[in-house]
């Protein structure tokens, strides 16, 4: 996702534009008659890839969301409901049966069958294909056999075709929220025409992807310029309210913002930080905010002795005034966080860390000294992501409230920071960001805090936590699973391996020519809702 690159939070030192007088146009989004014959123009960055299993950034995923229709989508409560699937069921959370709706066709006329999914997923999971999203299939039985330089098998043993519109997915381990995963880009089907030979994707496919979604390609992907799509008339599902979409490629969000101000572009998904303070006056009610899935935390190297006590970690959390930093540094473009999961997933509870999240300098200092916290604190961050301001502010708060020395250390890139962490070098506290893969509590807990988690850089290991996660994965239904995950989250609140600081937000805006602009859970513009105004 583009947010993964955290470009959204790159604050360019363009202070001069902050001083510019706002152009008071006071928008009137939401009024005006809908024009179904018009196309809308949406800002994206140059996608890295346009193959479903190879696309894991928001720009590519935004384009694919027009070309493909997912098996499931998410309702108001962030629970999955069927779209291209008739039903997704399982009795034991291990063998899942996916029934497809009849009537779906690819844009080349080919019928969508169970094979379309099986072929696409096999292609995505097969290691030599080097697909970015291959890890989405790791829960499916047989995934291991497709890994390595010379894999033992070419197809996932867990995928079985039952009939033309039905297939079963056998997981290696029970997982109660498999259905929730299916809404992501990686699980789209591919037509036969996409392959030049079985298991070999045609090189030209990516230039004009053929999907089964509400829009089809108009021409080919014009690199660095645009991707155009138009309405696909034979689409059996919910019809879009516009005739087409032009995804226009921008390198810098400031350029896109200037275009939205002058109605040369309809939607900007991320208003640049330097324009946030004037966006309200520039765009009026056409400036909108919605919760995004990202979470910013300050993490502890719990493997280091001085940070091994939860009391020390809690005291530091209480010495930080989240609200103040969110307001003065981020201009409310993010929201203060007091839980370990994002508000966009089912099972989210506000303020799970309780008193630890309250700003209370006196109590924090007493607790910190009683626990014997270190007298000098270092905070590491990546220097290329615009994090210096808030790290410095946090450091200053710790200095003032805990009476410790605090210094921020910049690493050139996030990768450099990760390298040091993998080698367990003492970097002090460090910043981490997380964007979900699929809207489930598990995705905010498993990879980050389980003992074997792929992004557990803190050395945090709690057998009870691991056990609760395993129980959640094999729970009989989603409600039970959520209960287990919530219990696991409560354990985190006791141990505080990281301090939750802020939730991301979509800060988006649109021109006077469109209405009903909404963002979905994956930070994409909802293309079925957007309307053009006459």
């Amino acid at each position: 996702m583009r947010v993964r690159r955290l470009a959204a939070w790159t604050a360019l030192p363009l202070a001069v534009t902050l001083g510019l007088v706002a152009c008071g146009s006071g928008g009137d989004g939401g009024s005006g008659e809908s024009n179904p014959d018009a196309a809308v123009r949406i800002e994206i960055a140059e996608p890295q890839h346009l193959v479903p299993t190879n696309t894991n950034e928001t720009s590519g995923s935004q384009v694919l969301s027009a070309l493909f229709s997912p098996l499931v989508d998410y309702d108001e409560a962030n629970k999955p409901f069927e779209v291209a699937a008739e039903s997704v069921t399982s009795s034991d959370n291990t063998v899942w049966t996916v029934k497809l709706k009849d009537g779906y066709t690819f844009h080349n006329g080919e019928k969508v069958t169970a094979d379309s999914y099986i072929d696409a997923w096999n292609y995505g999971a097969y290691a030599p294909n080097g697909q970015n999203s291959s890890y989405f299939f790791e829960k499916i039985a047989g995934y291991e056999d497709l890994q390595g330089e010379k894999p033992k098998a070419a197809t996932l043993s867990g995928l079985k075709k039952v009939d033309d519109l039905t297939f079963t997915v056998t997981l290696a381990q029970p997982y109660s929220e498999f259905k929730t995963m299916l809404g992501y880009t990686a699980f789209y089907p591919l037509p036969k025409a996409a392959f030049s030979a079985p298991g070999l994707l045609a090189e030209s496919y990516e230039q004009a992807p053929v999907g089964q979604g509400p829009f089809k390609m108009k021409g080919t992907w014009q690199h660095d310029a645009k991707v155009e799509v138009e309405k696909y008339d034979a689409f059996p599902g919910e019809k879009p309210k516009v005739a087409g979409v032009e995804f226009r490629i921008y390198q810098q969000p400031t350029a896109a913002y200037a275009d939205v101000l002058s109605d040369n572009l309809d939607v900007i998904k991320t208003i640049p930080t330097e324009n946030l303070s004037t966006a309200g006056t520039d765009l009026g009610d056409r400036f909108q905010q919605s919760p995004a899935s990202s979470l910013q935390v300050l993490a502890f190297p719990t493997f280091q002795k001085e940070f091994s006590k939860p009391e020390v970690r809690k005291a530091i959390s209480m010495a930080i005034d989240r609200d103040e930093i969110t307001k003065s540094i981020f201009k409310d473009s993010q929201q203060p966080a007091r839980s370990f999961v994002s508000p966009v997933v089912a099972g989210y509870r506000e303020n799970t860390i309780g008193a630890t999240g309250e700003f209370d300098p006196a109590k924090a200092k007493a607790m910190y000294q009683a626990a014997g916290g270190p007298s000098k604190i270092e905070m590491s961050y990546n220097g290329d992501g615009g994090h210096k301001d808030w790290i410095d502010a946090t450091c200053n708060q710790l200095k003032a409230n805990l009476g410790v020395e605090c210094v921020g250390t910049a690493e050139p890139k996030f990768a450099d920071l990760l390298t040091k962490l993998k080698a367990k070098q003492p970097v002090g506290l460090f910043r981490m960001g997380w964007v979900m893969d699929y809207p489930s509590m598990e995705n905010y807990l498993g990879p980050l805090y389980s003992s074997t988690g792929s992004s557990n850089y803190y050395g945090y290991s709690n057998p009870d936590f691991d056990k609760l996660l395993a129980e959640g994965a094999s729970a009989p239904n989603e409600e039970e699973a959520i209960k287990k995950y919530q219990a696991a989250e409560d354990l985190l609140a006791q141990d505080m391996p990281v301090i939750p600081l802020r939730y991301g937000q979509n800060n988006f805006g649109h021109s006077t020519k469109v209405k009903n602009v909404e963002m979905d859970l994956f930070d994409r513009v909802d293309l079925l809702k957007i309307e053009a105004v006459k």
């Binding site: 534009t17 291959s134 310029a225 896109a256 200037a258 390298t419 792929s454």
Partner: protein, 312 residues
């Protein structure tokens, strides 16, 4: 003349290999973990890592690995294959798409520089210490003092968004009008320098002996200025413009970014940001050629302007 050009061309071959070697070495040394950089802040799967490592020989490290990768790159380069960027696009394709718009932009900027810079410079030189001279001095100092990173967004905001005189961004396939504003912004900096250079040079030559001689022969002022003075005054300006053309071709990273023009600078910026070694080296290799050729053209132009200069 022929021997001079031939000798320069041979030198260019050496210079080309030298610079690509240096650029490649710098990119190699500065490279942290390009695979991680491409993925941003996500963990990279083992499969993806193995795939990219093999494709770009990223496992070849150290001095031996460097020369292995460099020679691999050069041998492909000699066959006209610049390789693929880390996202799998052919770099030749990227450059083919990026050049035309960058060249257009550079030519507009150049035209602006010559049209306004040189003309105003000549006028200011003739009317030394006049109001015109002093006001251009003030104006050029102002322009020279404002960096493009400030000038470009300001111009975009006021002329593009606020007063809607120009389209605020140019996009991928812009018409002349859309490129005019970025061209003016880009050209304004070299315009100021060109103006100062021309003005000084003209003012100096106006006091030269041959001008006095011409005047005493009874030549009209227009002819003295346009033929005698201008030709001699243009030598330093042409040197400057030649180097400037190379600069403009190399893509204006800031201007192209602000006005969303997917040219060379735009791609170079992306390559640097994502540690896309092959893309950066590919673009820079081509830029080296552009610089070498524009320098050669400038050297040849000297002889045209000043017959006393001979090339052996």
């Amino acid at each position: 003349m022929f021997r001079f050009v031939l000798r320069r061309l041979l030198q260019m071959v050496l210079a080309f290999f030298g610079t690509t070697l240096i650029v490649y070495a710098l990119m190699f040394a500065g490279q942290g973990d390009p695979i991680q950089a491409l993925a941003g802040e996500r963990p990279v799967t083992a499969a993806q890592r193995a795939y990219l490592t093999e494709k770009f020989h990223l496992d070849q490290t150290g001095v031996g690995g460097f020369f292995y990768r460099y020679f691999d790159y050069i041998s492909n380069l000699l066959q006209g294959d610049l390789g693929q960027s880390l996202t799998g696009r052919s770099i030749v394709d990227i450059l083919t798409a990026a050049w035309p718009v960058t060249v257009k932009l550079a030519l507009i900027a150049m035209a602006v520089t010559i049209l306004f810079g040189v003309t105003a410079g000549v006028l200011a030189g003739i009317r030394r210490a006049s109001i015109f001279d002093n006001s251009t001095l003030l104006l050029t100092l102002l322009v020279l003092g404002i960096p493009t990173i400030v000038l470009a967004p300001l111009a975009q905001y006021f002329l593009g968004v606020r007063w809607q005189l120009f389209p605020p961004t140019a996009g991928a396939d812009p018409d002349f009008y859309a490129l005019l504003l970025p061209g003016i912004v880009l050209g304004s900096l070299s315009l100021a320098t060109a103006l100062r250079l021309t003005r000084t040079s003209v003012a100096e030559n106006l006091r030269a002996d041959y001008v006095r001689t011409a005047r005493s022969k009874g030549l009209v002022k227009r002819r003295i200025v346009s033929v005698h003075v201008l030709r001699n005054s243009l030598i330093p300006v042409v040197t400057f413009l030649g180097v400037e053309l190379g600069n403009l071709m190399s893509g204006a990273i800031i201007t192209e970014g602000v006005f969303n023009i997917p040219g060379v600078g735009f791609n170079l910026f992306r390559g640097i940001r994502t540690e896309d070694g092959p893309l950066v080296v590919g673009i820079v290799s081509v830029l080296v050629v552009v610089y070498l050729i524009s320098n050669l053209v400038v050297d040849v132009l000297y002889a045209v302007l000043d017959p006393r200069i001979r090339y052996e």
